[in-house]
Amino acid sequence: MTSGFEVLLVEPGHLLRRTVSLTLRSLGTAGVTESATYQTAQALCERRAFDAAVIAVEWPLPADSYRGLTLIQQIRSGESACAASMPVAVMVEACTGELLELLRACGISRVLIKPFRVRDVVDTIDRMKAGMQKLPPQRDGSPGAAAQR
């Protein structure tokens, strides 16, 4: 039983992704849609809306065209079914000044730098949800925009 708050979790690591997802579901904090790859995440975002996203970002940027940053930029530019202003947190191995500038420009809510704990991701999503609930209610009264789209 979740609260109607829907989160997209993009993380290639099976153990981290599954543990975060199972924990959020068992606590009833959020419904979680998992994606191990950016390609899948991109397809998901084109099809449906989420209330928030937590996305692993590779840095330095890998050679292929599917990246966490690309996905975030697509969301921010309205090229997805999600609200362009949707809260997004990122998970990174390390954060340089250059990456931080890029993330700030993308309006990132939180940067989780490894080694972080599952607890940190759960708390981050909890805060995103609390922030969403402080916003004026949607037309159907739900805290999350994804529920009405």
Binding site: H14, L15, T19, L22, L27, A36, R117, R119, V122, D123
Partner: protein, 172 residues
């Protein structure tokens, strides 16, 4: 010290444990990953996947402990088999079941224990995913949920063949 009780479903529990062919088998990376991940998540020096055999507990995966088995009579994990809930012992020295247990009074000097029963089919618990610390502590609701999630993943890894998604991943 109070010896761990023998669960009512002991025969079926052991039959399942033997059927899974886990005891005395080589380490497996996907299970090692779970205990390493849990030890880091909870910042504990010891984390085990302990399988409770008739007379011993044998560690299929372990972090922070050199021995691969201990007698069941003195096991903490044996006490966790009677329920599907996490058995948490915040301070073993204050617990009548454990205060004079040789694992408490001697190495590895257990003070904190949290064991999530590895409940497989038909509600049969074959062992635990457990966290051990040498200092008293406790787990809050979120931490208990995280431990239960890792337990779920451990049960899946113990009871079925490897998933390419798990095997192919980079270490978390």
């Amino acid at each position: 010290m109070i010896k761990p009780p023998i669960p009512a479903n002991e025969d079926q529990r052991l039959a399942l444990l033997y059927e899974l062919v886990l005891l005395d088998t080589p380490p497996e990376r996907r299970l090692d990953r779970i205990v390493e991940f849990a030890a880091k998540e909870f910042a504990v020096p010891i984390c085990l996947i302990s399988l409770v055999d008739s007379e011993r507990q044998w560690f299929k995966a372990r972090v922070g402990l050199d021995v691969c088995e201990t007698p069941r009579d003195i096991s903490f994990c044996g006490h966790a088999l009677g329920s599907s809930e996490v058995l948490m012992v915040p301070d073993a020295l204050l617990d009548a079941r454990f205060h004079d247990n040789p694992l408490v009074t001697g190495p590895p000097h257990i003070r904190f224990y949290a064991g999530a029963p590895l409940v497989c089919r038909d509600g049969l618990a074959i062992g635990t995913l457990c966290l051990i610390d040498t200092a008293p502590r406790t787990l809050d609701e979120v931490e208990l949920a995280i431990l239960a999630s890792l337990r779920e993943l451990a049960v899946v890894a113990l009871t079925r063949t490897a998933d390419p998604d798990e095997e192919g991943e980079a270490d978390d």
